[in-house]
């Protein structure tokens, strides 16, 4: 059959469409081609989120601050769970924004296929642009929230607390990369599965709730260790990152470096696994959804 076409085949085709066959086929070049789309998708999410809102981007701060105040009251003042020597508000705020970054990355990516089905059904562009734009948006959010963290930091300094930020502060980009990779990895795998199995969505919303409580966001790490649950650190790749981040800022609290290294490896593996699963699904999910 192919002889019929060989006469016109001089190898100068721009695009060859074939049945999917490779497992890991991350077309980075194509993403570069569509870089303007990436920028516009981020802009779209940002603009659409704050149009017709009264305080607009101030929501970046309102939500984590209110959450922090509630946590500080309930878990700090009433339940007296302790904060491993880290000043109260700094402890809860750092935990909340870092966890928020991770969980939003995961939740949004897990919806990639379902919430963009209408678009994906009609037009082609590198599907990976969508989860990447989600993470970029979350990264932007958490970086803006860092400014609030700096505010809390100086507030405690002014009140006379001794805060010695550790050199680990320089590893903050690594922490953010790690959580982003975990979020995208888990997120796109769940997204690929929810095209077939809708019930995973139900599991996800309360699963994230449970996951948060196992991540030392509210309950300090020492409580886990004292009660013999220190091994959770090695099972839950988010937990050591949260702890290390707090240590980096305040120089207080535990520093689970071993578990953190394990988590770093896990997050890289999850990222690649996620991309592989995503690639397998992106070309055929439309027949399933």
């Amino acid at each position: 059959m192919s002889e019929k076409y060989n006469q016109t085949d001089d190898g100068s085709w721009d695009l060859i469409i074939e049945p999917p066959n490779t497992l890991f086929d991350f077309r980075f070049k194509e993403l570069v081609q569509y870089r303007d789309l990436l920028g516009l998708l981020i802009r779209r999410d940002f603009v659409a989120a704050y149009k017709q809102t009264v305080v607009g981007p101030l929501w970046f701060f309102i939500q984590p601050i209110l959450t922090t105040l509630v946590y500080a009251f309930v878990f700090g003042n009433v339940a007296k769970l302790g904060t491993d020597g880290v000043p109260n508000l700094l402890f809860y705020f750092s935990g909340t924004i870092v966890w928020g970054y991770f969980s939003h990355c995961l939740m949004k990516c897990s919806n990639t296929f379902n919430s963009n089905a209408q678009l994906f059904k009609k037009i082609y562009f590198p599907r990976m642009a969508v989860p990447i734009s989600y993470v970029a948006m979350e990264l932007l959010t958490v970086l803006i929230q860092f400014s609030m963290l700096v505010f809390f930091f100086f507030y405690y300094m002014w009140k006379g607390a001794v805060l010695n930020s550790s050199p680990w502060l320089l590893a903050t980009p690594v922490f953010l990369f790690q959580l982003g990779a975990l979020g995208v990895g888990f997120g796109v795998i769940i997204s690929s599965m929810t095209t077939k199995y809708r019930d995973l969505k139900q599991l996800l919303s309360f699963g994230m709730q449970l996951w948060m409580h196992c991540s030392a966001v509210i309950i300090p790490l020492s409580q886990f260790v004292d009660r013999g649950f220190g091994w959770v650190l090695y099972l839950n790749p988010v937990m050591p990152v949260v702890a290390m981040f707090r240590y980096a800022i305040t120089g207080e609290g535990p520093q689970p470096i071993g578990a953190w290294l394990v988590s770093l490896v896990v997050s890289i593996v999850m990222l690649f696994l996620g991309i592989a699963v995503f690639n397998r699904n992106e070309r055929t999910f439309i027949d399933v959804i």
């Binding site: 059959m1 076409y5 016109t8 085949d9 721009d14 303007d36 789309l37 037009i123």
Partner: protein, 264 residues
């Protein structure tokens, strides 16, 4: 004239009905039961659960054709003939099961007008977003911006969120973006089914113009015999996923298509 699209033995298989038992737990139970050689607890009564659990059908079966540069090819066929599946494979929305398609040049596909428009964004913002989704760079869109706005005829509403547009305005803007794209091959599926007669005529004229003046290739799916004869210079008829007829005489193609409908 050089070949810009080469469709070689393309087939697409779909599965009928339910793809799974709609829940992971039940799928796992079925899988476990079948593994142990038991009967699938979720199988439909009377249906053999062990062999080929689900029915399949071919939406396209071994389709072969070539398109030359500057051709305006109509793909016709009754509902379910596989036209849209073919266009979806060409626009890379879904993958073929067998065969391959090779394309020379940049493809812009317009499977539905206004895909990717965000209701909260203004006309201007949506032109950029839509252009980028269709694969244009920002500066290319800027270069074409005035042309797009002019074609849409909506200069005074360009900074209004499109959610406040009427559906006619929406369609006009969306078509304007796609038609003014810098592409070598334009794939369009029933786009002109929307909008009024005047706008439809304008769309067809625009597509003819870009093909005749700029040598762009157009693949056009439509049921509308009038639109097809006004626009295309070649036609293919698909029936049950198989290519039935291919001719340059567009009136003959339309005639055969009408016969096909009558004989149904």
């Amino acid at each position: 004239m050089s070949t810009v699209v080469s469709v070689e033995g393309v087939s697409k298989e779909f599965r009928y009905g339910v793809l799974n038992n709609m829940s992971l737990a039940r799928d796992l139970r079925s899988w476990w039961a079948v593994r142990r050689g038991r009967e699938d607890p979720n199988a439909i009564v009377g249906q053999d659960s062990k062999v080929g659990r689900r029915d399949r059908f071919w939406a396209l079966r071994n389709v072969n054709f070539e398109v030359k540069k500057g051709e305006r090819l109509a793909i016709m066929g009754v509902n379910g003939a596989g036209k849209s599946t073919l266009l979806k494979i060409m626009s890379r929305v879904t993958a073929p099961t067998e065969g391959r398609i090779r394309i020379r040049g940049r493809v812009a596909s317009l499977l539905e007008v206004g895909t990717g428009f965000h209701p909260e964004l203004t006309g201007r913002e949506n032109i950029y977003l839509n252009g980028a989704i269709l694969g244009m760079r920002k500066n290319e869109i800027t270069a074409k911006f005035d042309e797009i706005v002019e074609f849409s005829g909506l200069p005074e509403f360009i900074d209004t969120p499109v959610k406040r547009f009427s559906s006619g305005m929406f369609v006009r803007l969306a078509f304007a973006v796609a038609a003014n794209l810098k592409s070598d091959i334009l794939i369009a599926d029933e786009v002109i089914a929307v909008g009024d007669a005047k706008f439809q005529a304008k769309c067809i004229k625009k597509m003819r113009d870009i093909s005749e003046k700029e040598g762009r290739t157009i693949l056009f799916v439509s049921h509308n015999a009038h639109a097809v004869s006004a626009l295309c210079n070649r036609g293919i008829i698909l029936d049950h996923g198989v290519e039935q007829y291919d001719a340059e005489d567009i009136h003959e193609v339309v005639h055969r298509y009408n016969e096909l409908i009558k004989n149904q």
